[in-house]
């Protein structure tokens, strides 16, 4: 600044001398030079602002938590939620398939038992000829045999519907994690707004969950450190002497 001041003083003195001596050409040159000093200061200010902006931007991107969230957690969360859709869809389809399979079976059973019940009533009222009684007996025997299989099929179906409900636990755990992520993100955004006026925020450590939870195919099994199936678990345990 002092140097610039000195420079300006010299320029001013030279300008006065030139004006007194009537040297028009020198006056013009000196005026241009004085204006140049002004411009130089302006450029310096712009330069400073640019540097500040640059530092702030760098400050943003080195905040490791935000970086990790945008680069890793958010796409990760998208895949996790996609998996939730897949799992709920599978469970719904599995349930609907069983219901569609079992409903006609139960309808048939119902129909047949109504028919037989009506015949049985006529037999009790002694309104049935012997020939028809013989055919009814055969029908009843047949009904017992078939109903065994049908009831077993219905029981298996109900068990399958039961198992299909397991999705709720898995998807619940996954959604809880995504909620946690959204919460973390919110906290980080608030923090970002708070520090954006200042420089030099200390970056936080990324805290890995100590319980990774359900394995989402394509997300959690990339590093090969998870058991992809019950067989993997069994192999690992048997290698440990189980």
């Amino acid at each position: 600044m002092t140097k610039t001041n000195d420079n300006r003083l010299t320029l001013a003195k030279d300008l006065v001398t030139a004006l007194e001596q009537g040297k028009e050409a020198s006056v013009d040159t000196l005026l241009t030079e004085i204006a140049g000093v002004q411009e130089g200061q302006l450029f310096q200010e712009v330069g400073k602002l640019t540097r500040q902006l640059h530092d702030t931007m760098t400050g943003f991107s080195v905040d490791s938590k935000i970086t990790s969230m945008t680069e890793h957690d958010i796409p990760d969360a998208k895949e996790r939620l996609q998996y939730v859709i897949t799992m709920t869809e599978q469970a719904a389809n599995q349930t609907l398939n069983v219901v569609e399979d079992v409903l006609p079976v139960s309808e048939q059973l119902n129909q047949k038992s109504q028919q037989l019940s009506e015949k049985w009533g006529r037999f009790l009222d002694k309104e049935m000829p012997f020939e028809e009684f013989k055919s009814m007996s055969a029908e009843i025997t047949d009904y017992f045999q078939k109903s065994n299989g049908s009831l077993q099929q219905m029981q298996d179906g109900l068990n399958e519907i039961l198992m299909a409900q397991g999705f709720q636990d898995i998807t619940g755990q996954i959604i809880k994690r995504v909620i946690d992520l959204v919460q973390d993100l919110e906290i980080s955004m608030v923090e970002l707004v708070r520090i954006s006026g200042r420089k030099g925020s200390e970056s936080e450590n990324i805290n890995e969950p100590n319980l990774p939870g359900p394995v989402v195919p394509g997300v959690d099994d990339k590093e090969g450190d998870v058991a992809a199936s019950q067989d993997d678990v069994d192999d690992l345990l048997s290698s440990l002497g189980f």
Partner: protein, 128 residues
Amino acid sequence: MDKNMKILVVDDFSTMRRIVKNLLRDLGFTNTVEADDGKTALPILEAGGIDFLVTDWNMPGMTGIDLLKAVRSNPNLVDLPVLMVTAEAKREQIVMAAQAGVNGYVIKPFTAATLKEKIEKVFERIDG
């Protein structure tokens, strides 16, 4: 294997507890009690009378692995058979559970056949 044995099912998701209970009933085990995390499970275990523990890992309050450790450090419960049924599938976790003294490990989602097989295996080893 005594079909009348008393089984404690511990999971924070009630749907999963219902599934496990229904599967156990289907396998002939009708004597079941429930708890929603380690904290509520431990007093039930300490009160005595539980013959088999089926527990999840990731639960609020007290996790299944901490419950397992508490069980193994209690002289009255040290031999209680414990089956872990969990979505936690990291190799290091399975090793950790094995080291803590788990008797069987089933990862979710599982099938009725897997649960049956693992329960049978747990008691085969204990009875045999």
